[in-house]
Subunit: 261 residues, 2 copies
Amino acid sequence: MTSRGAGPIYQRIADDLRARIQSGELGAGAKLPTEQSLTTDYSVTRATVRQAMQVLVNEGLVVSERPRGHFVRQIERLTYRPQKEWRERPLHRELDQFMDEQVELGRKPSQTIAVELATPPADVAARLGLGETDTVVIRKRVRYLDGTPFNTNDSYFPLELVQGSEIMHPADIGRGANVVLAELGAEQTHAVDEIEVRMPTPDEASRLEIGLGVPVAMHRVTGYTDDGRPVRVVRNVLPGDRHLIAFERTRPTKHERDTER
Amino acid sequence: MTSRGAGPIYQRIADDLRARIQSGELGAGAKLPTEQSLTTDYSVTRATVRQAMQVLVNEGLVVSERPRGHFVRQIERLTYRPQKEWRERPLHRELDQFMDEQVELGRKPSQTIAVELATPPADVAARLGLGETDTVVIRKRVRYLDGTPFNTNDSYFPLELVQGSEIMHPADIGRGANVVLAELGAEQTHAVDEIEVRMPTPDEASRLEIGLGVPVAMHRVTGYTDDGRPVRVVRNVLPGDRHLIAFERTRPTKHERDTER
DNA sequence: TCGACCTCATTGACTAGACAATGCAGACGT
DNA sequence: ACGTCTGCATTGTCTAGTCAATGAGGTCGA
């Protein structure tokens, strides 16, 4: 049974299990052999078996549900389309564009909103052209789908811009924060999207209730007005096992290409 | 010294070290205390200390360089702009658009190219509208910067489309594979970009020489001709610690919005 | 019938060791 | 001065255990 090959024993055990998962023998949601049974199968101590399990957990292939056992993780990704923010208007007043899409798939969305005044983190300060001692208004949102956290969505606005507006109220803004910004004379016509891939910080992991082996994408949007002034930064944190980020491109015409920049 | 707080000891050790890293006390590249010294600091066995280290390694904060010690990982991300593929023409014949950008920053790029004929993986087959028994031409590339692997770039083409063309030759195509496709009557005017975030498979990890705790982004591009026929799928695997994916958007005019789709 | 309690299989946390592998630095020889 | 060799600090792998925590399922009593 012990498949030959170089390397430490725990790697071989992990390789065997991984192969059984990828071959479909252990399908999504299936229960893996118990640590105990693997110790006898491979004639090693439980510590070694646990090391093998750790490998698979860190790869995101397996989750441990103590004390029921280890299970093959099932991954279901929903498509997240940053571009749609500007393409479609929400159908349901009380939800934003992202959630809207999910309602039609029969899911039950909800969200929590909190508003804070604070100094911006370095990346946000740099993009809004502020110093780190300036104050920003932060709207922190956690979006849920069928009761489990789905992603977080923190928007940062310069205080002076949104002072006293609806944006500072910790309730959903039916028509969207962007519309409110436009009413304040800061309509956005241009945006820069940045995506950073990394493991979650412990805060993020607890806010999103994600387990070990799940990386996140940090999708940062900086919105600019027509005259190039940054007026909004959004940081979306998307757990990797629940999202597929999608966007589309059309080839610019020759004229557009030549006049670019 | 043992900072109080709930949870297992190894978490507290990890928390302490993480705090020292984030506060800047242990800057990028700094050496962490040895496992031995931590065992005495916290009065635990080395197994417990190792568990704490494992946490930080899995978070991508720390790398182990055996047997020199554990070090704070230094992350330097280069900006990757999927949209530029269609916006600018390469300046250097022998390099593609992505590498081109890096040359100007004084880096030394290189790449390896291999061409294979095989059946497509499921995701590619679905997007090209092929069965899993059809044959595709795969151009596999690994791009290096200053000698270390930077990302992989695997392009899939339907065999019948590129049969006998330059695309099947395992050498760099100066004018770009897209130009060759256009010459074959399959000019792409539309593309769908998808980004999936996950931990690397063991192959990917070895191909890209990435350590534990580094997630990857899989950037998949499907290119379509004017009449909606998919002619190319590219799978780029980007290690999270070396890439920042960026793209830009301009708000569509009212007319464009109303006539969309 | 239904809640309270108990048992048990299983994973989590930790101790106390042993030996292997490997860069690095310093000693040594030519 | 320069290559080689050797010792050593440090991490990697593994054994052999103990006790804790917890969800699930079954027992029992009202």
